[in-house]
Symmetry: C2
Subunit: 239 residues, 2 copies
């Protein structure tokens, strides 16, 4: 059994300008790994309609799932919903189900459900809503594209709404062997070991602690038995 694949599309000038440090990518990467969906690519693009459309099309054609973050609020720079609709060839308008959710929310809060707020009910035809337990305005899934808010706590809540509906794969496991030797010293034996285990992926990540060179050797795969075998061999080689 193979693992489904995924890409993430982060939409936002504020990430590209360096004003805001994205945290959604790291969060989503961890969550997908846990349920056995393999994140294969991430793109960050600006708040530009054509750039969003092109990225959604490219990623949605290539991967099992696409997760987007950002650009679904009430202001003029929130253009993700319209761009995703265009990319997927869907019509978009103020949808009754989303209007009802938001109307009730603003009624409860005693705030006017004005034109800007109604923008957040623009949902493509055929999409299903993604629950937003934090601030009500929904995300949506259309085809294999899941559209979510950029604000981290809302993004995380929407991910928690969406992931249980998706079919994962065998959990993507990893084990780390840390040794206080430079990468260049162990590279040849590590490469030979990697060649012995073509079903596992092996990576090496150098670090420096108090001036001393060390390396984390990371073994990834879905078969716990094979991971254990590789770790036993690693320990024999470098332990």
């Amino acid at each position: 059994m193979t693992n489904p694949t995924a890409a993430m599309l982060v939409i936002g000038d504020e990430i590209l300008s360096g004003r805001t440090r994205d945290s959604n990518m790291h969060f989503l990467a961890g969550e997908l790994t846990r349920i056995g969906i393999m994140l294969r690519e991430v793109r960050v693009v600006a708040d530009v309609h054509d750039d969003i459309v092109a990225a959604v099309r490219a990623l949605s054609a290539r991967y099992t799932h696409v997760f987007t973050s950002g650009g679904i609020g009430p202001t003029h720079d929130d253009i993700t919903a319209d761009a995703v609709a265009a990319a997927m060839g869907a019509k978009i308008g103020h949808r009754a189900d989303a209007m009802a959710l938001l109307q009730a929310h603003y009624d409860r809060a005693g705030l006017p459900f004005n034109e800007a707020r109604q923008r957040m009910a623009r949902i493509p035809d055929g999409a299903s809503l993604i629950d937003n337990p934090v601030s009500t305005a929904p995300g949506f899934s259309i085809g294999n594209v899941h559209v979510m808010a950029g604000v981290p706590n809302i993004f995380e809540a929407m991910v928690a709404s969406v992931l249980p509906k998706l079919t994962g794969g065998p959990a993507l496991l990893s084990q780390t062997f840390k040794l206080m030797r430079g990468e260049g010293e162990i590279a040849a034996e590590f490469a030979a070991l990697a060649a012995e285990f073509p079903d596992l992926s092996m990576g090496s990540y150098p670090f420096i602690t108090n001036g001393a060179h060390g390396t984390n050797l990371v073994v990834r795969g879905t078969d716990p038995g094979r991971l254990d075998q590789a770790m036993v061999k690693l320990t024999r080689l470098f332990g």
Copy 2:
């Protein structure tokens, strides 16, 4: 005068698996903004030759500069140099200048300059070396592609070596107006203001503090006078 554009390509399974949280993107975004180079797109891809080649080709054709991070160490999973050479149609081999740098480095350290370490001297023909004051193994620039290490302190040192050689543009300035009102309340007036200043880019970023909704209105552009005019109007509207 317009600003040069840039893309970044982050190479590494460890980012996509959620094991490591990337920090190079945020660092580079800030540095580029400071010198007036506009970061327009970021991609993160796995340690897969064809994926790296395709991304380098696409980004290098579209933007003034491409900056890569990751995959230039001595181990079997370090395949960036060869992939970039392939993308740029250049030959690659152990280059004499890089061999000499590394030989001297390992001689000083009293460590063998073995085959794995010699891998780090694989530099495409026609590339110029990027200085690595931290651990010697150089990055390189070929055409408009600048290839750097993934380890954050080495990446940052290489960025400091490369950026002074590039032609920037007018500094990309931004000013922020923070107000304790929800986005949906101010969206209409903010959109009208943005339409008055087509030469500036205006974005709105909601936050929640102690249960209260607030918004940062961010104005970006290169003309300090125009930014000031916009801020005066923002203050009059929402101050």
